[in-house]
């Protein structure tokens, strides 16, 4: 190390121990020190940069978390103790931010009815109901409109800059209407405003549909655009009445009462308004998996196929890879190297692209397979042909990796073991079955388990090939090759209305299944004790 500047102040680690044995003074590398100072300075600089938007948008909670994180980082790396934490902190912070928090939030979502029509709070639902019922009535206030944004003209969030008949300027967005200061009003309309960039006619016209949809909620209703240069304040046809906790339609007197258990407004005959709010529904989503016939029926079937798919893919690739590894594991074999290189080529090809290419090989009308064999088979149309096809594709994608691993494991088994077995009179098969395979399994079972866990949730394998097809006529939501995760995805992002809460509940069930199977499998292997040693 270049610098031997071992200042006692910066001496780190093992102070207690140095009482017993006299040791040479710790040389704290100068390079290491500089590196640490630079890294911490960069962290602090980034934190300051990140703090500005938080302050600007008054995100005090976010700011608090940020300060706490930076404080922890500085404490850990400046203190001479907590050595393991120094090594674990970067990964752990990222893990918490981008895996643990989303997972916990998903689990939290599982006990709500979060989804289309149940996105926000009750107050937001009321605003949505009122603004969507706005109609123009005689005597509505007219405004001169300038469409503007705080961001870039093409994509930034829109705001309306309005001038009322009395000449006062306002700014309106989804939060409501506020007086606008620092605006230049020219010819009865806003022509410039501090902090906003105005869209010219072409830009505003290009975002026409957005402008038409845009509403600024007000006490009596909402402000909507008419064209791109005028706006009016319409009256809400439906108004929320806090006294009866209901929504009343002014013209007809019809009433929808709030149901706080389900998060909807519902009338006497059970009709619901489209806009509801997010409420806690307890374990309703979980019981629905078991009790709702339309869900429970396919769920059991999908689970069985999902287990078969995961086990088939993991064991199939392993068996095929092992067979090839055994066949090529012989010094007498000529051209072994060539075989190896050609064999593992699928591993080098981009898997997402190869999934799509396999999909098109199986295509009914243009596919290579049908044309080569002069057939007209709808491969993804029959449940079993589709299932065999997706497993075949998984075999092709996965076996080169297993081949590589098995080759390595075979090379690691000492030759003497095989020789000893032969001297004891074991045949080739016996030697493989009783000696080689058990040794291989000890080394490779963790890999088999993680391959199973991976394939259990192998979304792309299905989504990029069959997309879950074939779908039975009576239940177009659950297809023959659907895995639980693709089934969940369809529920979560269905065109008929997303059901995030329910999808999250299924996610939790999937997680529980995989975790239990893997835990049992790990317990059965000896890997665990070795790993914890």
């Amino acid at each position: 190390m270049a610098g031997k500047a071992a200042t006692p102040l910066l001496d780190r680690g093992g102070r207690e121990a140095s009482d017993e044995v006299p040791r040479p003074p710790r040389s704290v590398g100068l390079g290491g020190q500089i590196g640490k100072i630079v890294a911490l300075s960069v962290t602090v600089a980034l934190a300051v940069w990140a703090a500005f938007p938080l302050v600007q948008q008054r995100q005090w909670l976010g700011l608090g978390i940020e300060i706490a994180v930076v404080a922890v980082i500085c404490y850990v790396y400046l203190s001479p103790r907590r050595v393991p934490t120094k090594y674990l902190l970067p990964g752990t912070l990222l893990l918490i931010a981008f895996q643990v928090v989303p997972v916990l939030y998903t689990v939290g979502t599982a006990v709500t009815n979060f989804g289309d029509g149940h996105r926000g709070s009750k107050a937001e639902a009321v605003v949505a109901i009122q603004t969507s019922s706005v109609t123009r009535v005689a005597g509505s206030t007219e405004y001169a409109l300038s469409v503007a944004t705080r961001g870039t003209a093409g994509t930034g969030p829109l705001v309306f800059l309005l001038v009322d008949p009395a000449g006062a300027a306002f700014v309106g967005d989804a939060d409501g209407l506020r007086p606008l200061s620092g605006a230049t009003v020219n010819g009865g309309r806003v022509t410039a405003a501090e902090g906003y960039s105005l869209l010219n006619i072409g830009q505003a016209a290009a975002r026409g549909p957005e402008v038409t949809e845009f509403t600024v909620p007000t006490d009596r209703g909402a402000i909507r655009a008419q064209g791109i240069s005028a706006a009016y304040e319409g009256q809400a046809g439906r108004l929320y009445d806090a006294d009866c906790d209901c929504v009343r339609e002014t013209a007809t007197g019809a009433v929808w009462r709030a149901d706080d258990d389900e998060g909807v407004f519902v009338n006497d005959v059970g009709e619901r308004l489209a806009q509801g709010w997010k409420v806690n529904v307890g374990f309703a989503n979980f019981t629905r998996i078991v009790t709702d016939g339309a869900v429970a029926g396919p769920f059991a079937g999908i689970l069985v196929w999902n287990l078969a798919f995961a086990a088939g893919s993991a064991l199939g690739t392993f068996a095929l890879g092992l067979l090839c590894a055994l066949a090529l594991h012989s010094p007498k074999l000529r051209g072994r190297r060539i075989y190896q290189i050609l064999l593992i080529l699928p591993y080098a090809m981009p898997s997402f692209a190869m999934l799509l290419i396999w999909r098109d090989i199986f295509n009914t009308d243009f596919g290579l397979l049908n044309r080569m064999l002069d057939l007209d088979v709808d491969w993804f149309g029959g449940t079993w042909s589709a299932r065999i096809a997706v497993i075949l594709v998984q075999l092709w994608l996965g076996y080169p990796y297993m081949f590589l691993v098995a080759t390595g494991a075979l090379q690691a088994i000492p030759k003497e073991v095989g020789e000893a077995a032969r001297i004891d009179g074991a045949g080739a098969w016996q030697q493989f079955r009783r000696v080689t395979l058990p040794l291989l399994l000890v080394a490779l079972s963790p890999l088999l388990i993680s391959s199973f866990a991976f394939n259990f949730n192998n979304f792309t394998a299905i989504y990029l090939t069959t997309e879950g097809a074939p779908f039975p006529a009576d239940n177009p939501g659950a297809g023959g090759t659907d895995l639980l995760i693709t089934y969940m995805f369809r529920l979560a992002f269905d065109a008929q209305g997303a059901q995030y809460g329910f999808a999250a509940a299924i996610s939790v069930v999937i997680f529980a299944i995989v975790a239990v199977i893997s835990a049992v499998a790990f317990r059965r292997t000896r890997a665990q004790e070795e790993v914890y040693s």
């Binding site: 090594y87 893990l95 989303p102 690691a412």
Partner: protein, 281 residues
Amino acid sequence: MSWVKQVGWRHLVGITAVLFSLFPIVFVVSAALNPLGTLSSSELLPTGFTLRNFVDLFAEHAFVNWYGNSLLIAGLASAAAIFISMLAAYAFSRMRFRGRRVGLLSLLMIQMFPQFLAVVTIYLMFTTITDLWPAVGFNTAWGLILLYLGGALGVNTWLMKGFFDTVPKELDESATMDGASHAQAFFRIILPLVTPIIAVTGLLVFIATINEFLLANVFLTDTEAKTLSVGLYGLLGGESRNTNFGIFCAGSLLTAIPTVLVFQFLQRYIVSGLTAGSVKG
């Protein structure tokens, strides 16, 4: 007869496996060189030769951007992921501290919860992030790299820890006795001895990242910001599935190049690293 029993069957298995491995790849090459460029006119073996599909790929699509994005994201994400999990593996392998066992187990558990299941949450989270810090929000490489790094500790740490355990403890202990700090013992003593597993993990992460489709598809919607997987997937969308097939295959072949290069570069470590890392012993 004994030749068949000794070596012949090995050739048979080898040839069958090679045919199985190569058949779709030959088809991709043939389709990429196919002058008509459609799926319906592509045969297993090339029927013509043209580079038009490659030229179209560069001329009509933002392929260069996609390629650059993919290399940037996969390169940086795998380098950072290796560094992060290397540090964690060292701590788990060499230090004894409270929560070590729990930490190892929770790493195993958390990665069994597929990150993709949380995609709705991730979307909502990054909507806020894009609003606050556009520089690391949607349609940026940095945001996606951060998101990928959330999973860095998962399987890699286990793989590396298994290999680290095989390096005799006496080596770093004696270095510590001679006055090396824990960081010096790691970077100067252990690290040079574990290059095989670093290489293998690097390869695995690189391949996984350059192939990642789901999160990238949610994350990158601007044409210029897309990665190869998202961009190429878009080529086959809707009506163009048949007509763009040749271009798609050309793109897929070019996508394989970085992987093959990384593979070649790290080749000598691969076999030893893969097995030794799976479990110690």
